[in-house]
């Protein structure tokens, strides 16, 4: 009985803790106006992109009488080459793009943290080797490599595409983390932790990680923009299988079906580009307030 009663209480406690943490985080972020607006846009667009496909059923039937219409009350953003509503496509079409963006950046960041800490702690030849490999990866013309790999191997899932992007995008953050770990290790508080005989996982996660968090968080957000760039680029070229509806596929159709060269289809071309740019800008602006969340020293100055 006692155990059964305490379980929900504990769950409530955890939920409460998370809520409080979220509240504090949002309050800190709100201090930087521009950054907070960026955060709101990112949050709203993300939630929208993942919820919209559940509720909105995109009508794929062509309507020959309504090709490339301008914006109207009936079609807020006009229609496409088959007379289908552009606004619905914009609402529904974010899911794939954002999914790959978030996943690729998460995988890449994880790889970077793992290899960075490993490299710094192992030292010796492994360290030399890993930094060497990172330098090599930094100089690769990644987009051309994505294009060739995607053109040879059929990437039919978002996860596969995200992994491909992640494999070639860890090097920059890995080097930053490695040098941060190397310099932090010499600091007094880490020496103290070591003198207290605290375990390595404790030192890494409780002492080192919080100090690197701002860097990692900002890199994660910038990583989303880079992954989106690559993904939409591949979709635009038509190298990744064009399945379903998303902003990249819309761009590809605008290109292959000649909407770019037709003066009457402006709203169709501009819509996917506008949402992509707005989302990317919002992410970048958001990073400004992110650094304040993780770095208490910055807060007082703001």
């Amino acid at each position: 009985m006692a155990v059964a009663a305490s379980a929900p209480t504990r769950a409530l406690g955890i939920v409460g803790g998370v809520l409080v943490w979220c509240g504090t985080t949002i309050r800190i972020m709100a201090r930087n106006k521009a950054g907070f607006i960026g955060f709101i846009i990112v949050a709203v667009m993300t939630i929208e992109a993942f919820i919209a496909p559940i509720f909105i059923n995109f009508n794929t039937a062509a309507d020959v009488n309504a090709i490339y219409q301008g914006p109207s009350l009936h079609h807020l953003l006009g229609t496409d080459s088959e007379g289908r509503d552009v606004f619905t496509q914009i609402l529904v079409g974010g899911q794939d793009i954002l999914e790959v963006g978030y996943l690729a950046s998460a995988f890449g960041t994880f790889l970077a943290i793992l290899l960075g800490i490993l490299s710094a702690y192992a030292g010796g030849w492994l360290d030399t080797f890993l930094t060497w490999v990172a330098d090599v990866f930094l100089t690769l013309p990644t987009f051309a490599i994505y294009a060739v790999i995607a053109g040879t191997v059929h990437l039919n899932s978002n996860v596969a595409l995200a992994i491909l992007i992640a494999v070639f995008s860890w090097a920059g953050l890995m080097r930053a983390i490695r040098s941060q770990v190397l310099s932090l290790r010499e600091r007094d508080f880490i020496e103290a932790a070591r003198a207290l005989d605290l375990s390595l996982p404790h030192i890494i996660f409780k002492e080192l990680a919080p100090n690197m968090a701002p860097y990692i968080a900002i890199h994660f957000v910038i990583g989303i923009t880079a992954a989106m760039y690559a993904e939409v680029g591949l979709l635009l070229l038509g190298i990744v299988p064009l399945s379903g509806q998303n902003w990249g596929v819309m761009l590809n159709f605008a290109w292959t079906r000649g909407a770019i060269f037709y003066s009457g289809s402006l709203s169709y071309i501009l819509s996917p580009m506008a949402v992509i740019v707005i989302f990317q800008l919002a992410l970048i602006v958001w990073t400004r307030s992110l650094s304040e969340v993780f770095d208490p020293r910055l807060r007082r100055g703001a």
Binding site: P141, A144, V153, L237
Partner: protein
């Protein structure tokens, strides 16, 4: 053998592999060249195994197609495939790999599937100069102009000019280059009719031959103008922001204060003291920018139908012309890697500290 008074033998200096290895590791330039070669090797190996080991790999598909569609007998089909891909299919995989790499070292990368019989190397050499020209010129213009605007913004901190330039730079920095390219087409070409986008396609107008005449240079620039403009617009924001930040931190240095105290002219301080030092960190970023621009040229050249290596790569991917894909990717990587090497050498000239460290 030197003998000391006590009769002890001084250990001979180590010879052989270890010493060479140590010297290699200590020699900065040797290490850099090794890394450059390693990068090209990595990409070449990656593409080889991508094409040979993947399930349903292109070689097998090609052989199957020949047998089933054109009724070519199997051994003959194998031979055809072997000559196309530069691979002897009877050999074990590792031997195939070594002969592939051996041929590549000699500049032989097989022949195209679509344009039958045309060596990949010939295709690459036809289109490479145009990509080098457009990407290179775009990056140089962007780098120089960006540095100039960055210094100005840092000197006129908090002015209207500064706010405008920094905000505009952040905006440009956030927009993917293909979106800028499409916007140029849509607005300058289709909506406002400022430029004739169909006439600007390709690398040269019909009838114009490469020569050292003004007409040729003008025509080449005319056709490359849109890709170059796109490279400049999309990369300049990053340079401005980096140069502004770098200049700001340089302005606080003691040697700048000393230079001011000595009564040196403001322009001399800005160029020789501030500018030169502030530009240093930017050179390392040039490396990343180059790889990004060359990799992205496939998008820009496709959008503007500029016949460089990028567009050729895109076409070969669409036509599943694997030998060409392979060759272009390896060459693009080699170009980026060796351009980086040159950038590093230049960096050594600008920053004497690197040279000294290299000699050590």
């Amino acid at each position: 053998m030197a003998v000391l008074e006590q009769g002890q033998v001084v250990p001979e200096p180590q010879v052989g592999f270890l010493v060479i290895a140590k010297r290699v590791v200590r020699n900065y330039w040797l290490l850099r060249i090794l890394r450059a070669l390693f990068t090209v090797w990595l990409v070449a190996t990656l593409t080889f195994f991508l094409i040979r080991l993947m399930p349903g790999n292109p070689v097998e598909v090609y052989v199957q197609n020949l047998v089933t569609q054109q009724g070519v007998p199997y051994p003959q089909a194998l031979q055809l495939a072997a000559s196309l891909y530069n691979i002897n299919l009877d050999e074990p995989l590792w031997q195939q790999y070594f002969s592939y790499m051996g041929a590549m070292v000699h500049g032989d990368m097989g022949t195209s599937i679509i344009q039958q019989g045309v060596p990949v190397m010939q295709i690459v050499l036809t289109f490479l100069p145009w990509t080098l020209f457009s990407v290179g010129l775009g990056l140089i213009i962007s780098f120089l102009l960006g540095m100039l605007l960055g210094i100005f913004a840092a000197y006129r901190r908090e002015s209207v000019f500064d706010h405008f330039v920094t905000n505009f730079s952040s905006l440009l920095h956030a927009i993917p280059n293909y979106i800028i390219a499409i916007l140029i087409l849509v607005y300058a070409g289709v909506q406002w009719h400022i430029i004739d986008i169909t006439a600007m396609r390709g690398t040269l107008s019909p009838g114009v031959q490469p020569s050292l005449s003004l007409g040729f240079v003008k025509d080449a620039l005319y056709h490359a103008a849109l890709p170059i403009a796109t490279y400049v617009i999309t990369t300049i924001g990053g340079w401005i922001l980096a140069m502004r930040a770098s200049t700001e931190s340089t302005l606080g240095e003691d040697y700048v204060t000393v230079a001011k105290a000595r009564g040196l002219r403001e322009r001399r301080i800005a160029l020789a003291y501030v500018g030169r030092n502030a530009a240093l960190p930017l050179f390392t970023q040039l490396t990343l920018s180059l790889a990004f621009a060359v990799g992205g040229s496939i998008l820009i050249e496709t959008i503007f139908v500029y016949q460089g290596l990028g567009l050729t790569l895109q076409n070969s991917i669409n036509q599943r012309d694997y030998p060409v894909m392979q060759g272009i990717l390896v060459i693009i990587t080699a170009v980026v890697v060796f351009a980086n090497l040159i950038a590093d050498v230049l960096y050594g000239f600008i920053d004497p500290r690197v040279r000294v460290q290299g000699k050590e």
